[in-house]
Every structure is written in C-alpha cells, then in structure tokens.
C-alpha cells in the first residue's frame, strides 16, 4: 500500500545488476523492517545488486562487505536515494 503511494521512489528492486545505490529508508515498522535494518540496511549505506536466482527471485545484494539475499517482496521495502 505504502509502495503504491510512493511509486516515484526508487526501490531496491529497481537497481540493475552490478548497480550500486544508497539506502534512504526502510518502510514499515514491523519486525521484518527491524530485521532488515539489523542486517545493515540503514540509511546512508551503499548497496549493490549482484544478481538474482535463476527463477528471478530472490535477489542477491552486497553491502558492508557481505552478500545478502532478499525476496523481491522484502526488497521493495528498501527505498534508495535518487541520484
């Protein structure tokens, strides 16, 4: 729902393979948002899209020197700064 209102925002899923973006915000106040942030997805951190699984989901990212996999569903909560 939130994603619909802010469609013009750049979501993590919009990163192309190999592209890097800077995190602006993680949407939601539930435990999933907290888990994402605890893994380092906090504002100001750079994140690079490494690729995706053969069936298109989940996605693979790199941040803070480690690799993280997220489903599209969770990636859509992560908003990046427009460059």
């Amino acid at each position: 729902m939130i994603t619909c209102l802010r469609r013009n925002w750049k979501m993590l899923t919009r990163l192309a393979r190999g592209e890097t973006g800077r995190i602006k915000e993680v949407l939601g106040e539930d435990s999933i948002a907290i888990q994402l942030m605890e893994m380092g997805l906090v504002p100001g951190i750079d994140i690079r899209r490494v690729g995706s699984a053969p069936l298109g989901d989940p996605l693979e990212f790199e941040l803070l020197g480690f690799r993280l996999s997220l489903r599209r569903r969770e990636s859509e909560r992560v908003i990046l700064f427009d460059d």
């Binding site: 907290i34 380092g40 996999s69 969770e74």
Partner: protein, 721 residues
C-alpha cells in the same frame, strides 16, 4: 581453584564452531537444550588455576530473537535458559572480513554488564581482500580485549586463552543513545513499575529498544499490564523527540560506520583471490545453477547408493549375529524373541545409520563451505510456490533416500511453521525402503512392454510414477497445511550468503557422529520396542499342535522320496509351510483375517492385509512377511525368483482360479506403500524433532488415510480396464 563459565556468541558463519573446537579440543559434549531441538555444545578447558566451561551459543545477528535458536542464544546469555548457569564472561566471535555487521551484536553484548572478550576470526580472508584492521584501535574503541585468531591453523588460541582467564572489569556500552532514552532507561531500571528481574539497566534498555518485546519472553519474566504501559509510555516519549524509525539499528550502525572508517584501511586486493573466483563461478546464473544440480545429484547419489555397501555389511553382520546367537539358544519362544525380535529389531534401526551419517557429513560440509545458504537461495522461488522457503529443499531431497535424516535436516529451517510443514510432508517422498516393494511388484505384475513409441519401458514408467505420486501429494498437503493448520504471515527471506571457505573437517565429523549417535540412542529404543511387539503378535500363541499336524500330513510324501536332495527340498518346503501356518494362526494372522473386509475394496486378500499390517513398523519388512505368509520362509528378497513367481501364481484362499496379484492389485499396493506412513523410526524421529506426539500421530493418520483412499481409487479405476 577458580571456575569460569564463558559463552561464545557471534553471527552465523563466523567460524565460531571452529574456534570453540580449537579451544575445547576433545573435552566437549553435544546435546540438545531441553524442550527445543537446538544444539547445545559445552566444552571444558583446564587452564592452570582456572577451569573453564565454554558454552557455544547458537549464532545470531542480534539480541532481538526471531527464531527458536536465537531465543536460546539470548536466554543462555541472560541465564534464563534451563540447565545452564549465567555465563561469567562473554567471548564475542567476530568475522574480521565482515567487521561492520559483526560489530552490531558486539555493541549490544557490551551493554550486558559482563566482561567481554572479542576474538577476530577469518583474519586471513580479510587480508586477502586487502583489509587492514587496527586491532589495538578496535580494542580501545570497544573498551575490551581483542585477539586475532585463525582457529583452523590453531593460531592465536594460546593468547586468547590467557586473555579469557585474566582479571577483567565488566564491559560498558559504547554506543551513545539520545539522552532522553538514557533517562527513560534509568527511570525504568530504578523505578518500581517493572517486575523485579527486569529492573536492570540492560534489560530496561532492551525493553525500550526492542518493540517486539522478545526480551521479557526470553528472560522468562511475566509483565503485567502496568509494566507494559510504563514501557510503552517511555517508548512514546523517546519517539516524540527522536522520530527515527528503527532507532536502535540506525544509532548503532552510525557508531559502527564511524569506527570502521577510522580503523579499517582498504588496500588494493592482491589480484583476484581464489575465493573471489570461486564465488563468481558459484553465483553465476548458468555455471552456478549447473554446479548446484551436480552437487545435489552427488548428495542424492551418496545417500542413495554409496550407503548401500555399508548397509549390506550391517545387514550381513546382523544376519550372522542372528544365526550365531540362534545356534546357542534352543528353538522356542526365547530363540525367536532374541533372533527375530531383538537382533532383527536392532538391525532394522542400525541399518539407517550409513544414510544418516553420509547425509549429515554432506550437509555439515556444505554448511561449513557456506554452500547451504546458496542452495536455499537457488531453490527459494520453487519452494515458495507451496508456501515454503528455499531452506526446505535439502531436507525434502534427502527424504528420497530416507525420511529420517531428512526430518533431522529440517533443523536448518528457521521459521517454525515452515519447519513443521517440511517435517510433515517429508515422509511422502519415496524413500529407499519403498524401492524393494516397487521392484517386486512391477517385476511380478506389470507386463514388460514398451510405451510411448518404444521410448519407455512400462515397468520403468510405473516405478517413476510412484516417485512422482509422492511429490504431487506432498505439494498438495504442504499447500493445504500452509493455508489452514499452519497458516501465518509469510516469513521474510533475509539470508546471508557467506563466501566460500573450506570447512573444518573436525567440526563436520563431530557433528556427523553426534547426530548418528543421537539417532541410535533415542529412536533406537522405541523402534526396538515396536519391533518386539509386532514380533510377539506374529509369534503367539504358537500352538505346537499346528506344527505336528503339518508334519503328519507331509510324512507320507517324505516316505515316498529316496533322494537326499529331494528330501532336503521337501524339508525346506515343510519348514516354510510351518512358519506360514504359525503366522496364520498368530494374533497377527487372526487380525489379518478380521480386517479382510477393510482391505477387499483395495483388491487385497487377507495375506496382503496382514503383510501390510506387519510392515507398519518398517515398510521393507513386507517382503519378508510376504515370503513367510506365502509359505516361502522368512529369507526372501526382492530379487528372489521364487517370491516373484509365487506372487505371480498366488490365488485366493479356496478359489484356485482367481489370481491375487493382478495389475490393479499391484498398482493399489504400490500406491498404498508410496503414501502410507509405514515407518516407526520416522514417527519416533518426528516426535523427537517436534517435541510432541501430536505431529507424528497427525502424520500417521493423514498419510494412512490418503494411502487407503488412493489405493482404493486406483484399484477401482484400474479394474475397469
């Protein structure tokens, strides 16, 4: 003599187990925490004047617990975990190549009010990546000792041990939270609003920061309405002045970023490292998928066929043991109990051991490599289709070999509902014990024809369909479970994909052995009891009158034979007839005749019925039971031509022209075996893994129900053609 209890905490994939192993050496015990299937590892180290007790706490990324093993991790640190005392010190294991995210947990642990020691691992990998860490600076920033180690090469272990026992003050938090929050923490900790055990600066801070409230639950403290409101009020007050969403991670990572930027210098990496190349190969869309298929094929092959020679050896040894011991004991009830009950029963448990050990070696190795996470990542989309996640893939794949290691492997699934669903459908995968039944019945009853233009043999097609049937039913059952009984929000799939590293073989082997031993000890006792029970039902009342009558009827034929060989043959036939007649008159046999009306809709006669009943403890028993009941003696296997021929020619009691094993009957029996929960070992392991008899009972009922209906359906359908 001093005594110190030290807890090892750290993120998953940090080499914590290797470090624990390097510290504790041989003096370690592996078990489970009571009530949960979370592995508990405790080690003892004697250091001059001090005896150390090391507790290896399950890996966690944060003190906010999101899964059963994370809850155990936090409760061990708090001292609220039954069976463990509160640690005196905490050893934080930190992956040097992944410093920032690892420091998150460290900053939380520093606030616990205990002395803390930090051990850096993967220092070599960090160096390869061109990372240079100012260790003295890190120690100063954290206010605790920091020791660089390489557990696999036993480097840094001696200095670490010295630091572990040296006199040390309690650590203090290093991350500065907003003043208002600190003020609220102080008020909560010193006030009377909270229950006494929570009136502590660390716990009050956790209550404020962690909106999920998991800490009170983990600390096993009941919070009343007043306490809840006090915390909520304090939280709101903090929020009005600091409208930051996710205050804790934001503030902590703020501190971490500034420390890491100052203390870690990034040199140009020394060309591409081997690890980097391997990582690229493993993550590549095409090569990564191909490697995955090969690895899974190898795993399946290993569990399925590499275990066979060992299983044959075990089988042979128990047969030898049975006959040797059998020679010492005079024939009678005791003889039969020891040979057919005890030895055969124990053998039927131990026979699974090679598969369990091989599977756990593979899984441990893959996990140690960091490959398990990648497998889950690759298969996630497929498993999400039935509401599961990628983590369910390996347990289900293993279940094609044997459901027991498969169910045990489900421990890697973090979400309890996903784990339970996986455990409940795992026995539907056609395991290796079903194969003999399929082979016997297809060979005996399905015509050897080519279908689909000669491409496929009909027998092979039938065999393959049985495997497909199990998968299809498992998909349906998993889907139904996830939308009804085990309904819940889709858990997130937030998973670290660790870089490839060579696993520590000592850690892997240790785990393999402890899992194997666990199985033998715990599952063994009950399976054994069940086997003995079925033996008793198949043996008693054992009226000798039965035997003497048969002998009399054979006497005449014996008299007509002069040739030794022919007499021996007849003797064998008589012995088989005797055991068949005994079984027919036993409690089990009488049961078979009673249930005949229930198995007739499936096209079975009472002999199949009782063979099936006798095979509920272990489905592969059916071959032997059918051998006995069709008067062939107990020692038959699926390859024995006599059993196959006998199955072909068997006819209904009193109706010599009506064959028992027609194609529809063979199909209905195979379908029944494909879907039925005929394995006491599986149910016992399920009880152990779910900690309740409810789920094995549920599985037994649903699988047997589906098996009965499906077998009836296929029989009724096939009979019309």
């Amino acid at each position: 003599m001093n005594e110190l209890t030290i807890a090892l905490v750290g993120n998953p994939n940090t080499g914590k187990s290797s470090l624990f192993n390097a510290l504790a050496g041989l003096h370690q015990q592996v078990g489970n925490y009571p009530g949960v299937t979370v592995e508990k590892k405790v080690g003892q180290v004697q250091l001059e004047e001090t005896s150390l007790t090391l507790i290896d706490v399950p890996g966690t990324y944060s003190l906010v617990a999101n899964s059963p093993d994370e809850q155990v991790a936090v409760s061990v640190l708090l001292g609220s975990q039954p069976g463990t005392t509160r640690p005196d010190r905490i050893l934080c294991v930190v992956d040097a190549s992944n410093l920032a995210r690892n420091l998150y947990l460290v900053t939380q642990v520093l606030e616990m009010g205990l002395p803390v020691i930090v051990a850096l691992t993967m220092v070599d990998i960090a160096e390869q990546r061109g990372l240079e860490i100012d260790i003295a600076g890190l120690s100063e920033a954290l206010g605790v000792p920091v020791v660089a180690t390489q557990p696999n090469r036993k480097k840094g272990i001696a200095p670490l041990k010295e630091v572990l026992v040296a006199e040390q003050p309690a650590a203090v938090g290093v991350v500065a939270f907003p003043d208002l929050l600190e003020h609220q923490v102080e008020q909560l900790a010193s006030g009377e609003k909270l229950p006494a055990p929570l009136q502590d600066p660390f716990l009050a801070r956790r209550l404020l920061l962690d909106a999920t409230g998991s800490i009170a639950e983990v600390a096993a403290v009941e919070m009343d309405e007043d306490a809840r409101r006090a915390v909520e009020d304090a939280r709101q007050r903090v929020k009005t002045e600091n409208p930051v969403h996710g205050l804790e991670p934001v503030v902590r990572y703020g501190w971490i970023k500034q420390v890491v930027d100052r203390l870690v210098s990034r040199q140009e990496a020394v060309g591409e490292t081997g690890q980097g190349r391997l990582d690229r190969l493993l993550t590549h869309r095409i090569s990564g998928t191909l490697i995955f298929i090969v690895v899974m094929g190898l795993l399946f092959q290993a569990v399925f066929s590499w275990a066979l020679p060992m299983m044959d050896v075990i089988d042979g040894s128990f047969a030898w043991l049975g006959s040797t011991v059998g020679n010492w004991i005079p024939p009678g009830a005791l003889h039969s109990l020891v040979v057919d009950g005890v030895i055969a029963g124990v053998g039927s448990v131990v026979i699974f051991l090679p598969q369990i050990i091989i599977l756990f070696f593979f899984i441990g190795w893959l996990e140690g490599c960091g490959y398990m996470a990648r497998a889950a990542y690759l298969m996630d989309r497929l498993m999400a289709g039935v509401g599961l996640s990628g983590r369910s893939f390996i347990p289900l794949l293993s279940s094609f070999a044997c459901a027991i290691p498969g169910i045990m492997a489900a421990r890697v699934i973090k979400n309890p509902r996903d784990r339970l669903t996986t455990i409940l459908v795992a026995p539907l995968m056609s395991c290796s014990a079903r194969l003999p039944v399929y082979v016997l019945l297809t060979a005996a009853c399905i015509p050897d024809q080519r279908v689909l233009g000669g491409w496929l043999g009909l027998q092979g097609l039938v065999l393959f369909s049985m495997y497909v049937l199990g998968v299809v039913v498992a998909i349906i059952v998993a889907f139904i479970l996830k939308t009804t009984l085990l309904k819940g929000p889709t858990p997130p799939f937030i998973m670290e994909l660790p870089g490839f590293k060579l696993p520590n073989l000592v850690v892997v082997s240790r785990r393999m052995l402890s899992q194997g031993w666990d199985f033998v000890r715990q599952a063994g006792t009950l399976i054994f009891a069940v086997t003995v029970l079925v033996w008793a039902a198949g043996y008693f009342p054992h009226d000798p009158e039965v035997e003497s009558q048969l002998r009399e009827s054979y006497q005449q034929r014996f008299d007509q034979l002069a040739d030794e060989g022919e007499r021996a043959e007849l003797q064998a036939e008589l012995d088989a007839a005797v055991s068949g007649e005994y079984l027919r008159n036993s409690v089990l046999g009488k049961m078979g005749q009673t249930i005949e009306p229930f198995v007739q809709p499936l096209g079975w006669d009472w002999k199949i019925g009782i063979s099936v009943i006798a095979s509920f403890p272990a489905r592969e028993v059916v071959i032997g039971t059918m051998g006995v009941i069709y008067n062939l003696g107990g020692d038959t296997d699926e390859e024995s031509a006599t059993l196959r021929d006998h199955v072909r020619t068997a006819h209904w009691d009193g109706e010599p022209d009506r064959k028992v094993f027609t194609i529809p009957v063979a199909l209905s029996m195979m379908v029944f075996f494909a879907l039925c929960a005929q394995c006491a070992s599986t149910l016992v392991v399920m009880k152990r893994e779910t900690n309740s008899w409810r789920w094995p009972l549920f599985t037994f009922v649903y699988m047997t129900g589906i098996a009965y209906l499906a077998a009836m359906l296929i029989y009724q359908l096939a009979s019309r053609f």
